[in-house]
Symmetry: none
Subunit: 225 residues, 4 copies
């Protein structure tokens, strides 16, 4: 019956997500996935036709799950800095909160290390919207004369910082030791990244020089949040 079929399909997606994230596409076996999903060995080929098409569906499925925690809807007039802090905090939560299933982010890390056919879909349906939101915030936050390219680069600098604490975890953890790494919770990292980035966002001195503090003087006294 349709209800049971959908149920099996859904259990397969969930199980496949875990396994793909944990082992990678190649190392993941259909046997393992079907086993965890409590489904027949041929179920994958029956429901998705292919291991590869299952993978694509898993990525799409992950997208829907990610939407559950949507970005906040700021009331008109919300200060850009508040939005910015919310944005960074939101991203770090999704990346680092141990209560969230880890396989979602892990899958993205894999797509970056080895982009597959699903990568384009991932960007379009999952990443681009978030990126555009960040750009909107940056428009408000950066000096009006800032070029589009400079804004892009700034956005990547911000995302790069957030991501590194997740993707670079194996390295960071070894460099500072487990004890200190354990103190890198979402609150502290949000504080750090927001402060680190805000200093830069206000500056507008030419290449080859350091930050022009004067222009940000006014803003720096604003209270965020």
């Amino acid at each position: 019956m349709a209800a049971q079929a959908d149920d099996t399909r859904h259990r397969l997606l969930e199980a496949a997500g875990e396994v793909f994230a944990e082992k990678g596409f190649q190392a993941a076996t259909v046997r393992d996935i079907c086993g965890r999903a409590g489904a027949n060995l041929a179920a994958v080929n029956y429901h998705f036709g292919d291991k590869e098409r299952l993978y694509v569906e898993v990525v799409k499925h992950a997208h829907h799950c990610g939407e559950e925690i949507a970005y906040p809807q700021w009331p008109p007039g919300t200060r850009p800095r508040k939005k910015f802090r919310d944005y960074v905090s939101h991203m770090l939560i999704r990346l680092l909160d141990p209560r969230r299933p880890a396989w979602h982010t892990q899958l993205m890390a894999r797509e970056m290390a080895q982009p597959s056919a699903a990568c384009a879909a991932l960007v379009e349906s999952y990443i681009r919207s978030g990126h555009e939101l960040l750009e909107e915030i940056l428009v408000e936050l950066m000096p009006p004369e800032t070029s589009a390219i400079a804004r892009h680069l700034a956005a990547f600098s911000i995302v790069g910082q957030c991501l590194y604490f997740r993707i670079g975890r194996p390295i960071v953890e070894r460099l500072v030791g487990e004890d200190e790494f354990r103190t890198y919770d979402v609150a502290r990292l949000t504080d750090h990244i927001v402060r680190f980035s805000l200093a830069a966002l206000g500056s507008r001195q030419p290449a080859g020089e350091a930050s022009q503090p004067a222009s940000t003087a006014g803003r720096s006294r604003e209270v965020i949040r």
Copy 2:
């Protein structure tokens, strides 16, 4: 003869590096590696005993190759900002220069997405020294009262930015389009990251506030390079 043996070994390491980086550990086949190295199928087993031990040796080998392009030896009295710019530039070259073999960095990206037994070795013999050098520069660059943890976080913010332009390439490329991405050369990215970061490094305002420009005022007029 030893010379020939070393030659075969070396060719295997090079070929394996490419293949592992391109396909990943699981998807890489010993057949492919030996084929590219022009060696017999059993050569891997003879020289390294195992596909896995070959992988570890490849990582170690990558380390030695990386050493070839060492960090510059600055004469005493070199300005910290000059050192910092050199550092960032050096890292970006290693990450992005198309003339350098790509597999080295790609391998590191894989180790981050799915750390293996070789990850610890990678950190200790390849990453830690560079990290410590960066910390030394930051000590000179950041206010004297900066805590060790704050310095660590700053270091990761810097490395995270550099890395994202390499590891996040598949995403970045799709977000800004291939045309703009092609303009993201080492020079431009160095400029951007140095400027973005220097603004933050001088600030020392408490958490919850934005950059305190005053303290960096003096430094900001220094000419780097």
Copy 3:
């Protein structure tokens, strides 16, 4: 369908029996077995999981086949000597009858030369019952005061004789020549072993002395069969 599955399984067992007996466990190849069984190369893995587990199943299977030719059911009052001759004849038939598949016995010879995990199973489910039947016959045949150990040793002496004409065939054949060996059929060997053994079974003189004929005098005139 279950019927077809059982059929494939059965064909595999038969083919494996032949090959294992002919080549030994190590030298036997899964390819050869599957080839003879007309099954796919992966069938062994599917049905038995392992070459080794296939071997164990083959030994168990051999046991079931052996049961087909069961020992005769003697009516009450049958003379012990008749039972004894039947027993020896039965064993020799199973060992030597060229119309019976040879691999069964050959496999046992291998298990003796190099006992594997399957050896214990072989003894318990296949050999012990026959051994106990022989002991029961010996109880009737040997003097009542015979010790259990003496009876055990006698049983092994009898089985040893039978077995040697099968297992020692390569040696015996070379020693007496092929022509004479060809005359060693079941009937002649049964006669020989029965006569050779019956002379000993009746004796009860102490160690260091030869057979005491007196006690068997009465029996020796009985006509067997």
Copy 4:
């Protein structure tokens, strides 16, 4: 130098003997043999040309070792029963004495289970002489009218008994339990087999009947040894 070469050759033979007996021809690896012998991997091919030719040489070598414990030289006039007991005892010692290297006999068991090219050599240079000695004793021991074939069969019955306690050990041990098996030392088995066989050797009744005790009555009172 020749001395060292011979030494390596000898160590290879000893090591190969152990390994072949322990693992069988197929399962034995040249690596293992060379390892135990402390020789180079290519030494086997250098000294013997082949794994198979090494095996043949090992069998020949085993023969020479076996000669060390030669059959006793009986003075003229020695009683046949004394010779017979000595013969059985001698064979059992070679088969069962735990102080003797086990691989020698084990190798023979293998040759019987799966005769190789070395089997003929084994028979001619190692077994036939012993067999002929037994036949000479039997000529003295059996009634003069005994046919050659009957004598042959008797010889095999005797050898079969001895051999079974060695080759059938895995089965015998399981049937009677380890405790009782431990009491089956050379002395007890010699007693048993001699007594069991002597009873038969004197008998000369026609096929289809049991032993004629009368004919052995006189001999049975002789004291052996």
